[in-house]
Amino acid sequence: MTASDATQAGAADEIAASATALNRRVAALFGRSLHIRTLDTGSCAACEQEIRLLAAPHYDLQRLGFFFTPAPRHADLLLVTGPMLRAFALAARKTYQAMPEPKLVVATGACALGGVYQPDAFSYGSVDQVLPVDVWIPGCPPSPLALLHGLMVAVDRLAAGVGSMSFSAGGE
């Protein structure tokens, strides 16, 4: 490694370190109070039912510092469901643009992650074709517990463990 490479690597490390520090600060802020705006890009509304249950006494996301808001201007996190219909893409982009930085996008449900519907004339197939997604929450629909886990992952309060799950039985 040459000297300039070393310097560049050092600079890259510094940037990475400060980026991580920034992420930590943002996560700390969001962890105390996060406002969520839900966005239905064409789902069957099963995901919406589960999301609604989050506000019910059984799961009560407000005890964790999460709140729902209808206004993207007040939102920190965009919770997107549905396979991103082409007719909705403009509205989705406008909603995303209307959110102030820093902001997160969480795609939830099999449709939003690319399953169920393939890209065709009516839909993009998955949300990340139009919006930059930060966290994916699989499920059809994801239970409120899975949604809670996903939101906590989004604000860095829980670690994402699925990477280390192998989904093969009898072996680890």
């Binding site: 206004a71 201007r73 403009l90 509205a91 406008k94 909603t95 209307a98």
Partner: protein, 672 residues
């Protein structure tokens, strides 16, 4: 004396303008000369009016004769001073407005401008009249000339109807005014106002009350008190914009001047019921006026009803003043007269402004219907700003002049407890509450009146291409500046008006009203006070604070400019906006018992929704006064006329018989 000289100069200039209009018919130079002379006359009137305010009543002069009936009797009176100032301001503004509004000088325009300038002279003569005959002659000339003004546009049903309503009600009012003056003149053996006022104790109390009631009704026809107001919405839309501005800005104020003349100068001391009646009529007028205004789509009809509302406010102030006098509160009497006169001036200014802007809008965007306009503030920025100043004024929002004068009136009304009579105190509070309701509805109405045409998206093609090039702007802009000046410089103006009020009432308000340099203390020292000047400064300063905070605290770094959050809509369509009628729908539903809407609904067939073909839905507020008051009276008059018609058979022999019988009867009566 100097004020009458100034008035004389103004009269001469207006006469010259009238001649220029006729002489310069069909030439643009004639139009410009006429307008310039008209404006110059207005300036002269303003100076004369200010001189009157400051100097007090002048001596009566009778140019051209002795005290024979038919000679001219002129006197510059303090009460008329403020009206003269208003006349001058209106004349200047309209004079500046005329060239670009009328564009070409055609035969019709020439006649119109001639009539307009002569009407200005007649109005000035009404204000400067020192005697009954002069007043009546000037009044009637003014009415006839205004009839010609309204008839400017090509003959059509609404134009003819509007002009006729104006003339008919004006004549009925005139009969009552003549009766009122006749009572006073006969009982006091004099035709001069000053002498009548001095000898008023010779008139028995019940004749005085009769004269006052006749005057209230007679002048009420001109001022537009409910239910005598029906000519206003009929005549204002059909006259040209400057004609409507003149009508609303000045002519209805002449009716107010007449009421003030009787209430404060000729018949000041009276029983309390006179004041309470006047106050009640005023409050009712204000409420009815603004409620009808909310049901109107035509901008000019809307403004006409708003005029009715403001006249109601002024007359309420006068009525409350009379009530206070009857209970010995002389300071409050003078104060409410002052507040009412101040409101006269303010309303004249911003109503004229709004009518002139309505004319600009009509020419630029092609329609007076609010539902055919929209987004004009972006297409016509100057007109938008000027109309906004006028709207702020008429909605009585600080810091403009409407706020100051209405605030003064409210402060005066709040002193109702000082009459020490429970019933009267309650009645005054009810009047104040009605004015409060009116004020709230007025803000609502003018949010609609400004927002629907000027803000939002254009609702029609014509509104989308409206342009204010070649539209008049100097006249309205001058009025906007005057409105702001009347607000910021209110203390100065109130000093001048306090002097005028002292001449009329004998009460010096200056020490109570304006103890400090720029602070106004209405009515009583321990009640309230504020400074319009400091308020304006404060509001401007307050606007700076957010700007400073933004500059100091904004994020320095990357920022993105993104479109306004609109719900993700693909494209806005003009039909998604409020329309004039839907915006006022809450009021129309709440007050449905008042509006009595007549709804007609027609379907092409009874198929379920979506397949039944076109549906025709129409709703209109019932014209209560026209239908239940005027039509029966008109039918009764016609019936009576039919009854009497046989007398006019056309047979000469029958007529000779009449003459013979009359002479016989006269001899018999004289012999007995």
């Amino acid at each position: 004396m100097s004020c009458l000289v100034a008035f004389g100069i103004a009269g001469g200039l207006w006469l010259a303008a009238a001649i220029a209009a006729i002489a310069g018919s069909r030439s643009r130079a004639g139009l410009l000369v006429c307008a310039a002379l008209s404006a110059a006359g207005g300036a002269a009137t303003v100076s004369g009016g200010i001189a009157t305010l400051l100097a007090g009543d002048t001596r009566l002069i009778s140019p051209g004769g002795t005290e024979v009936v038919g000679s001219l009797q002129l006197q510059g009176s303090s009460l008329a001073g403020i009206f003269a100032v208003l006349l001058g301001i209106v004349a200047v503004a309209i004079g500046l407005y005329i060239p670009r509004y009328h564009q070409k000088m055609s035969g019709g325009t020439a006649v119109y401008l001639c009539a307009y300038n002569l009407a200005l002279i007649a109005s000035l003569a009404v204000l400067a009249a020192g005697g009954v005959v002069t007043f009546l002659v000037a009044w009637e000339s003014m009415a006839l000339l205004c009839y010609l003004l309204i008839l400017r546009n090509p003959r059509s049903r609404p134009v003819a109807a509007g002009a006729f309503w104006f003339l008919a009600l004006s004549e009925v009012g005139f009969v009552l005014i003549v009766a009122a003056f006749a009572i006073l003149a006969v009982k006091t053996q004099s035709l001069q106002f000053a002498v009548i006022a001095a000898r008023i104790h010779r008139v028995p109390a019940d004749w005085r009350d009769t004269a006052y009631l006749l005057a209230l009704c007679g002048f009420g026809f001109k001022a537009g008190l409910v239910p005598l107001h029906v000519w206003l919405p009929a005549a204002h839309p059909v006259a040209p914009a400057d004609g409507s501005a003149f009508l609303s800005g000045l002519i209805v104020k002449l009716g107010v001047y007449g009421i003030a003349l009787f209430a404060f100068r000729l018949l000041p001391d009276g029983p309390a019921w006179r004041g309470i009646l006047t106050m009640g009529i005023g409050a009712l007028t204000a409420a009815v006026g603004i409620l009808y205004a909310l049901a109107e789509r035509d901008i000019k009809r809307f403004l006409a009803f708003s005029t009715v509302e403001n006249i109601g406010i002024i007359v309420t102030a006068f009525g409350a003043a009379m009530t206070f006098l009857a209970y010995g509160q002389r300071a409050l009497w003078a104060f409410l007269l002052l507040a009412g006169l101040y409101h006269v001036l303010n309303h004249g200014c911003y109503k004229t402004l709004l009518f002139l802007e309505a004319g600009v809008t009509e020419h630029a965007a092609g329609s007076r219907d609010m539902d055919r306009l929209g987004g004009l503030a972006r297409r016509m920025p100057r007109a938008g700003v000027i109309a906004f100043v006028g709207t702020l004024g008429i909605a009585a929002l600080p810091p403009l002049n409407g706020f100051v004068s209405e605030w003064l009136i409210f402060q005066g009304l709040f002193q109702g407890f000082r009459t020490h009579s429970h019933l009267v105190g309650i009645l005054i509070v009810v009047a104040a509450a009605t004015l409060g309701l009116t004020g709230g509805l007025a803000i609502y109405a003018f949010v609609r009146g400004y927002g629907i045409p000027y803000l939002g998206m254009p609702r029609t093609r014509q509104a989308a291409v409206a342009t204010e090039r070649a539209q008049p702007v100097t006249g309205p802009a001058l009025l906007a500046v005057v409105c702001v000046a009347l607000a910021v410089g209110a203390p100065v103006l109130l000093v001048a008006m306090a002097r005028a009020v002292r001449t009329v009432t004998g009460i010096g308000l200056r020490p109570i009203l304006l103890p400090g340099e720029l602070t106004v203390i209405p009515a009583h020292t321990d009640f309230s006070g504020f400074s319009p000047t400091y308020l304006t400064v404060f509001l401007l300063a307050v606007l700076i604070v957010p700007a400073l905070i933004y500059r100091a605290g904004r994020i320095r770094g990357q920022s993105a400019t993104v479109p306004v959050w609109d719900g993700g809509i693909v494209a806005f369509k003009p039909r998604m906006q409020y329309s004039a009628m839907t915006f006022s729908a809450p009021t129309r539903v709440t007050f449905a018992a008042f509006y009595r809407p007549a709804v007609s609904l027609e379907r092409a067939s009874d198929d379920p929704a979506g397949r039944s073909g076109p549906v025709h839905y129409e709703t209109a507020a019932t014209p209560v006064f026209e239908r239940y008051l005027y039509q029966p009276v008109i039918r009764a008059v016609e019936w009576l006329a039919d009854l009497v018609r046989p007398l006019q058979s056309g047979d000469v022999n029958l007529y000779l018989l009449y003459v013979f019988v009359a002479v016989l009867v006269a001899y018999l009566v004289a012999a007995v």
